[in-house]
């Protein structure tokens, strides 16, 4: 370490004393321990971002028989979110609006307003969806009619099999979510 004789009084700033060395080593050791523990801590904390992305994420859920949704009408349907935790209770239940256009042609709209997510209500007589929060309104095909929303209602991809209608669901639709389920594109499989 040093050529100088060991001194009781620290002689120079360049020389690391035995205690000083051990303190630095101790700091380093603690830093290492912190880093080791930080990996699972951060991993746990951010697991929420991918939570539910396993099997249940964006899977097909049945809404009911085609006959339950008369042609030319728009009706409320409910389903249970495909990914559920034991403490979710009723919050994992979700509503959506099913518009039966004709035959196997449907539109399934998310209940959430494309503005800030409040539940929109369907008014058969005027053919409008209205939002109770900030006054957004949509036409029967989900396109924007008026108010603060910048786009039409979110649509779920759907399919009709054995006279049962199913949608691909599993995530809260929000204006910024750029995931495939809510692009509003007509599904190719229907």
């Amino acid at each position: 370490m040093s050529t100088r004789p060991p001194a009781l009084v620290p002689s120079s700033e360049n020389v690391i004393s035995r205690r000083g060395f051990f303190m630095k080593l101790g700091l380093l050791f603690n830093g290492l321990a912190a880093a080791v523990v930080a990996v699972p801590i951060v991993g746990f904390l951010f697991s929420a971002i991918t939570r539910g992305h396993g099997n249940g994420y964006l899977s097909w859920v049945q809404l009911g028989k085609v006959a339950d949704f008369p042609e030319g009408q728009t009706r409320l349907a409910t389903f249970r979110n495909p990914y559920v935790m034991p403490t979710d209770g009723a919050t994992a239940d979700t509503a959506c609006w099913v518009r039966h256009i004709a035959g196997e042609q449907f539109q399934v709209f998310a209940i959430n307003c494309a503005h800030l997510g409040c539940p929109v209500r369907w008014f058969q007589q005027s053919g409008l969806f209205m939002c109770p929060c900030h006054g957004g309104a949509y036409y029967s095909d989900g396109s924007r009619a008026s108010g603060p929303p910048e786009r039409g209602l979110f649509e779920y991809p759907y399919k009709v099999e054995n006279n049962l209608i199913s949608i691909q669901a599993g995530e809260l639709p929000t204006p910024g979510a750029a995931i495939a389920a809510f692009t509003g594109e007509k599904p190719s499989c229907a």
Partner: protein, 497 residues
């Protein structure tokens, strides 16, 4: 005596008596013993009250998506005095936000944020943000319909952050939807994270008040300069100072007790907040509304033009918080007195009036359609009286097609669109037809939903909506082109005085 011996035994070990006495008796400028200087200590008192009532609530409350709502019902109805503790906690929250805001305005107008108290102000800004964080997360813990849809609004706002939006939403919600995990993490924030930070920051805030001294009463013309202020302040406390205890503290104590009694009185007479309906997202017959201190934001989100909304939501908070943090550096010296700071006074007035107006608007939400007006608010008699069969049919169309959800008649109905009481004076027949069929402004187009007969009837009724003696709007050119064809309705309206 026995007691003083016990006291001495403890102090021999703790050695706290001397420093505590020094703190209590430290000299403060005489004129700070004012009723204007009591809001900070009152906010702290309410915070302590919140801790006590919060711990009591946690004895019964269950932070589970499936059970939170029922446990709140149990607190309200089954547990002895549970309703009162809930009410104290809810009202305490309102009082705390109000006191923190008043304290902040007072500190701003008295120039207390200037040198050397910049950091005290900055810590105070964080205390304000944490207080608002507590208010919002507390509203979530009252896990009802308002909480559920309020979380949806929070998620929708967060999702607009470029690129990271969807990840932020899932991080916020603890998964892909609003559910049990969402409540659990807001419980963690409300009960562990933010209170822990609050206690630490309150400690820092108070420490700096002690180290730097209470801001002296601002005198017009007494200007703060970095070079001389500290000496001037020390001279002031030496020349015209008095011990904090008991000289100034009694006013703090009186006001704090008054505030606690006020919280208790509100709790007793006005009761606890909610919970409203069960947090079941399949119940869509709901009109979610935020708590009092976020109503201004609710109004803002309704009134901003759509294209400005996302920039305002994402940039606005950065500008506001950044401005508050930078304030002591931008005006760290100079006049303290509000009498010599007109811009400061105007800023506070403008912000107060703006927030007050938005809050007032959000209390009756003129921008929201009244969902039940079409079935609940009949067309008032005076508008039907003496109408023809066609016009009456039109009134029926107006009602059935839910026009009333957005348009009022005789003060009843929605206020989203203009009142129709005198619409015929504003729009000619052609303009009415076009507006109904094509929409425009903020009105949806009804062309697809009205048959020609319905449109004719509706417009015929709308044309009767004008004050007596004020003829309906007419297209002058039309009279010329149709001169040869006599029109009955025109003659009638002209013959009426």
């Amino acid at each position: 005596m026995m007691i003083s011996r016990i006291g001495k035994w403890f102090d021999r070990r703790l050695q706290l008596a001397a420093p505590v006495r020094e703190i209590a008796e430290h000299a403060v400028p005489r004129n700070t013993a004012s009723w204007w200087y009591v809001f900070g200590s009152a906010a702290l008192t309410v915070f302590l009250l919140q801790i006590v009532t919060g711990i009591l609530l946690a004895l019964v409350y269950v932070p589970s998506g499936a059970e939170a709502w029922s446990s709140l019902q149990a607190l309200n109805h089954a547990v002895t005095l549970g309703w009162f503790i809930r009410a104290m906690h809810g009202w305490g929250s309102n009082f705390m936000v109000a006191l923190v805001l008043i304290h902040m305005v007072q500190v701003f107008l008295f120039g207390a944020y200037k040198f050397p108290r910049e950091l005290t102000w900055i810590v105070g800004v964080f205390l304000l943000l944490m207080t608002l964080g507590m208010a919002f997360s507390g509203q979530v813990l009252r896990f009802d319909q308002d909480a559920y849809w309020g979380l949806g609004i929070g998620a929708s706002i967060s999702s607009r952050v470029p690129i990271l939006g969807p990840s932020i939403v899932r991080f916020l919600l603890g998964g892909p939807i609003i559910a049990g995990a969402t409540l659990s993490r807001f419980f963690t924030l409300h009960v562990f994270v933010i209170p822990g930070l609050l206690i630490g920051f309150v400690g820092l805030h108070l420490l700096m008040v002690l180290k730097l001294g209470i801001n002296e009463w601002p005198m017009p013309g007494r200007v703060v300069k970095r070079a001389t202020y500290i000496n001037e302040y020390h001279e002031l406390t030496k020349k015209d100072g008095a011990p904090f205890v008991p000289y100034a503290v009694w006013k703090d104590m009186f006001f704090a007790a008054f505030i606690i009694l006020a919280v208790a009185a509100c709790a007793l007479y006005l009761g606890p907040f909610g919970p409203t309906g069960r947090p079941d997202p399949t119940i869509i017959q709901t009109v979610p509304k935020p708590d009092y201190f976020f109503l201004w934001l609710y109004a803002l989100l309704s009134l901003l033009p759509p294209s400005l909304e996302t920039p305002a939501l994402l940039i606005g908070p950065v500008v506001v918080i950044g401005g508050l943090l930078l304030l002591p550096f931008l005006s760290g010296e100079g006049e303290k007195s509000w009498k010599r700071r007109p811009i400061a006074v105007l800023t506070v007035s403008l912000i107060a009036i703006t927030l007050g107006t938005f809050t007032r608007l959000a209390m009756y939400t003129p921008w929201s359609p009244h969902m039940n007006a079409w079935s609940g608010d009949p067309v008032p008699d005076q508008f039907i009286h003496g109408t023809t069969a066609l016009e009456r049919q039109g009134a029926l169309v107006l009602q059935v097609k839910q026009c009333r959800n957005c348009h009022s008649l005789g003060e009843s109905g929605g206020q989203r669109g203009p009142a129709l009481d005198s619409v015929a004076v504003r729009l000619t027949q052609d303009q009415l037809i076009r507006q109904v069929i094509q929409g425009g402004g903020n009105m949806p187009a009804y062309g697809k939903n009205l048959s020609p007969a319905e449109t004719t009837a509706l417009v015929a009724f709308l044309e009767t909506l004008h004050p007596k003696g004020q003829p309906p709007a007419r297209d002058a050119a039309r009279d010329v082109t149709l001169r040869d064809v006599p029109r009955n309705d025109e003659k009638q309206s002209e013959s009426q005085p």
